[in-house]
Symmetry: C2
Subunit: 323 residues, 2 copies
């Protein structure tokens, strides 16, 4: 990671480590202390700092908004992990596994409220605007999570529906995080909208990239099981695109793959048919179209190229995570 | 119920029935439509309207705050019902029973966010104050729920600890509901504090009354199983007070009661030992001390007695629910 990015990362991490949550009730606050300090890349709150910096505001002044974004993100992870019955998060036990589901529900709730408390620490004249963007985004994230759960039992999902789901579930929060910074910096409306659109579109691109990495990453760098989505028959963009491209015979073949019990064989056969259909290339094309939309939006913003360079570096850094 | 109270109830119920939630995702919004229309006494949002009315503000102007309070209350019920594994709420199926736990978690989350959205509809100059009171209260309610769960597995709980738990879990929200009205009406600080204290103290009193009603209500009017708390060995104020008053022999007796399998016998023996110890009278004394504290606070508020009469009527109406 580049040095000028590291400055933001270090500042934020320091502030998160300083967090002073109440001691009691232990079963409410210990899970939050644990989960918030598990780390993660902290991309979202860093975007808030970068959003403020972009328009010449001291990034330290956007700290509370950045923390609000990080709290919200962690709230949604804690609750999602219950719903997905995920045992691990960032290679450590999830809250509902280490404690229990009730504690995970309640400590998640508190974290959402604490996100609002952080927003209230920003200047009063920015409060209504921050709240409006945040509420809208928070509801969209919940809608995205619901759609994701609905998709598990739905037979056919179009590529468009899938992208709308990931837009809601994961990408609007990147837009919101950046817009928070722009609001604190009192950017003009066009620039705020453009920055939001930049965040949302690169968010979609990265989510698509994650789908691709699941199957095509080199495992040494990836840190997760290769083909996890294929093994669990998850409906990712790769598989939806494959169905879209397949002829009836190939569709039958794809359907049969889901029944294979040997993981290695299942992944191998999936890769074979995906190669036949050109799935990876098609999906990467979609990814790149969102990267482009995002960069076009960034381009429209009325600040110097130099000012934009840190954001570009962040995108490059995230992009470099293989494929 | 008195006619001038009914006006508030009708207005609020009408507004809740008018609610226009999005159609999709159905699994997110159908549960909210269902749950919000189950009814309940709507005491909390009515307190917000009465709080505004008390200081000469049009109660209609406090509608959004009132809805925020009702949404928050319903959010906490939906999540608490999951945690308590409660099959029924207001004689109807709970959300996690009618749908499932995941849907109950997520639709609860959305309802909490929608509470904040309602707060944002009030005048911008009141926003920060409303948010501060609301955030503090919301966190306290979560802390109270956590303490309540912790108490289930704790051996000894003092009367003071129990009252602190119900203060957090149920009473601070009544204080907040009233203070919301006072904020909208731009009451002075002393009056706001006094009104909050009135709400909090009568809240504690009513919660204690609920504990008493569980065992001593006349079933025809009560609508719940008499002695439900005793049958499930719940640690209510009655039982905690009984342990406080009991000699070692009586403590042994109380402990043995928890093992009785025949519900009727269990309730009968509990009533016998409670009568011997004078538990009901002692607990009603505590209840009345909180009613008194509440009414003293109301007394301090600098508005005419006439203006206070609707609040007094509401207290009387709630008090009249037996014992």
């Amino acid at each position: 990671m580049e040095d000028d990015l590291k400055k933001f990362v270090l500042f934020l991490e320091q502030e998160i480590q300083k967090l002073d949550l109440p001691k009691s009730p232990e079963n409410l606050y210990d899970p939050l202390r644990y989960f918030l300090k598990l780390g993660g890349k902290r991309i979202r709150p860093i975007l808030t700092l970068l959003g403020a910096d972009l328009f010449g505001e001291k990034y330290e002044n956007a700290l509370s908004s950045a923390l609000a974004i990080e709290y919200f993100h962690n709230f949604s992870l804690i609750h999602d992990d219950i719903m997905d019955e995920a045992p691990l998060r960032r290679t450590q036990e999830t809250v509902h596994t280490k404690w229990n589901s009730n504690i995970a529900i309640l400590s998640g709730d508190v974290l959402l409220i604490k996100a609002y408390q952080e927003i209230c620490k920003q200047k009063a004249e920015h409060l209504l605007e921050l709240m409006s963007v945040f509420n809208k985004t928070a509801i969209e994230v919940c809608e995205g999570q619901q759609l994701d759960m609905d998709f598990e039992t739905r037979k056919s999902i179009s590529v468009e529906e899938y992208i709308e789901m990931i837009r809601l579930k994961t990408s609007v929060l990147l837009g919101c995080a950046l817009e928070f910074g722009a609001i604190i910096a009192e950017a003009n409306t066009e620039d705020k909208v453009a920055l939001y659109n930049f965040g949302q579109n690169i968010g979609i691109a990265f989510q698509i990239q994650d789908d691709v990495l699941d199957l095509y990453a080199e495992s040494a760098q990836f840190g997760k099981q290769i083909g996890g989505d294929i093994i669990s028959n998850k409906k990712t963009l790769l598989i939806l695109k494959a169905y879209e491209l397949a002829n009836p015979f190939q569709k039958e073949f794809l359907l049969n793959i889901t029944q294979i019990e040997d993981s290695a064989l299942k992944i191998e056969q999936t890769k074979t048919i995906f190669a036949e259909l050109g799935v990876k290339e098609e999906v990467l094309k979609i990814r790149d179209s969102y990267f482009e939309k995002g960069l076009t939006a960034l381009n429209e913003i009325q600040v110097s190229k130099e000012k934009k360079s840190t954001l570009i570096k962040l995108v490059d850094y995230l992009k470099s995570r293989e494929v």
